[in-house]
Symmetry: C2
Subunit: 264 residues, 2 copies
């Protein structure tokens, strides 16, 4: 099995975050074509929830210290919504010629206190061996301590990259990369083009939180979730996937605007 690139497409890219249960079909369809054009056939895709996941996650108390019983009430609804979004993404991929197969995290992952404890990846490895592209998503999964928990797409990305010995993670978001300050609040924020893990600690405070409320805790949280992979030597590229051709260039290892994060 060729070592796969792990690609995350954020909820802010593939959905309209201002309207509940609204996919951004323009972006999904364009990104599907960029993936197809890249010719890359060793790839795992993980997408976020956006307006399919976050409002329901809030409603059922998955942000912060929710009540377990309330969370269990929400599992059916949240998982069904995410499954629908996964089908939409998968369908657009197939239309573009990408051999996509939806994979449900809640069917193969068990968590403990919000962290992945068990992840059966043999089905994913089999798909990759056959040239198929598994498409996972941030999902609500059984948790041995909390009954149910939301495992973010970023945590899945990081775990998969380690399990599959991926050389590279690409994070497709709606900003150009990591900034010295939150660019949505401060116009003097500067894009960081390249950073080592050892330097990251220093600028963490200045990265701050996303302006859009997000159960995955914004950009700081995203980078934090990726640490286990970065520490093992996986290179992370953060790009703006709402801008045409950025993903294509990142997949082709061409020069592209964004932030590269490496170990060391």
């Amino acid at each position: 099995m060729k070592k796969p690139v792990v690609l995350k497409l954020g909820g802010s890219v593939i959905t309209d975050k201002s309207r509940e249960f609204t996919p951004n079909l323009t972006n999904i369809s364009r990104l599907a074509k960029e993936i197809y054009r890249s010719g890359l056939n060793s790839l795992v895709l993980v997408h976020g929830g956006g307006s399919y996941g976050h409002p329901l996650a809030f409603k059922y108390g998955f942000s912060g210290e929710g009540v377990e019983e309330r969370r269990v009430e929400g599992v059916s609804e949240i998982h069904l919504a995410m499954s629908r979004l996964n089908n939409i993404v998968t369908e657009e991929m197939i239309k573009a010629g990408v051999k996509a197969v939806g994979v449900h995290p809640s069917s193969c992952i068990v968590a403990r206190s919000g962290k992945i404890e068990l992840f059966e990846d043999e089905p994913i490895k089999g798909m990759l061996r056959c040239g198929l592209i598994p498409i996972l998503f941030g999902d609500v999964v059984f948790d041995l301590e909390r009954r149910f928990t939301i495992i973010s797409g970023d945590q899945i990305v990081s775990t998969l990259a380690v399990k599959l010995n991926s050389p590279q993670i690409i994070i497709g978001t709606d900003v150009d990369g990591l900034y010295t300050r939150d660019p949505k609040l401060y116009p003097d924020a500067k894009l960081i083009r390249f950073i080592r893990l050892s330097e990251l600690e220093e600028i963490r405070e200045s990265i701050g939180e996303s302006t859009v409320t997000d159960v995955t805790m914004g950009m700081y949280g995203k980078v934090n979730e990726l640490l286990p992979a970065i520490e093992r030597g996986v290179t992370v590229k953060v790009i703006n996937a709402t801008v045409p051709d950025r993903l294509f260039k990142a997949l082709k290892n061409m020069e592209v605007l964004g932030t590269v994060i490496v170990r060391g």
Copy 2:
């Protein structure tokens, strides 16, 4: 965890087999209400593919000795169709008050030569412990020998019943139970109300095949797939789930028209 009943709802019950990609919403909705009314909260549901699965399975050569490359071509399309049907079934269950969660077999099962080789069931056990009802389906899964294979709902039912120590399997189909001959061809066919495994061999030839062509090989194939569970002492009830209240009575352990199959 209370030992769950494993319920199969056949593709002929939940879809219109004569029209591609057409759910039988009347049946699904009624059965969802019967499950809710039964009050049973330790239940796993597995559904068939019907007009969502079988035409595509034929198209891509999954019946008989298909070509591996051709089968891999079909995986994306078949799994997406089945995922859609699963969402429809799950949605109707939720509407009726059943705490349903879709579980994708291709995300947690690996096969070898058409038989289940690996089945990660911890997520399903977790859901059951929280009173949720996992809903699986016959699916196209990675196969260590054949690249991809279709694992029937019946094989999943049998494997799950053994893994979860289920006392009982209920097979909801579109006939009243097992007959001495195929009732769709022979008007003198008699319904078998109770049969021991030791007697089954004698009447196997007379059961014959379903009149509707079916990649799961008809009623004989169905019973055959259930043998591992029956041999371990799981009681199988075959009922006609297209007739109102039969499923409700079976779930409540009330007297109901059908066939009971036991070991011994």
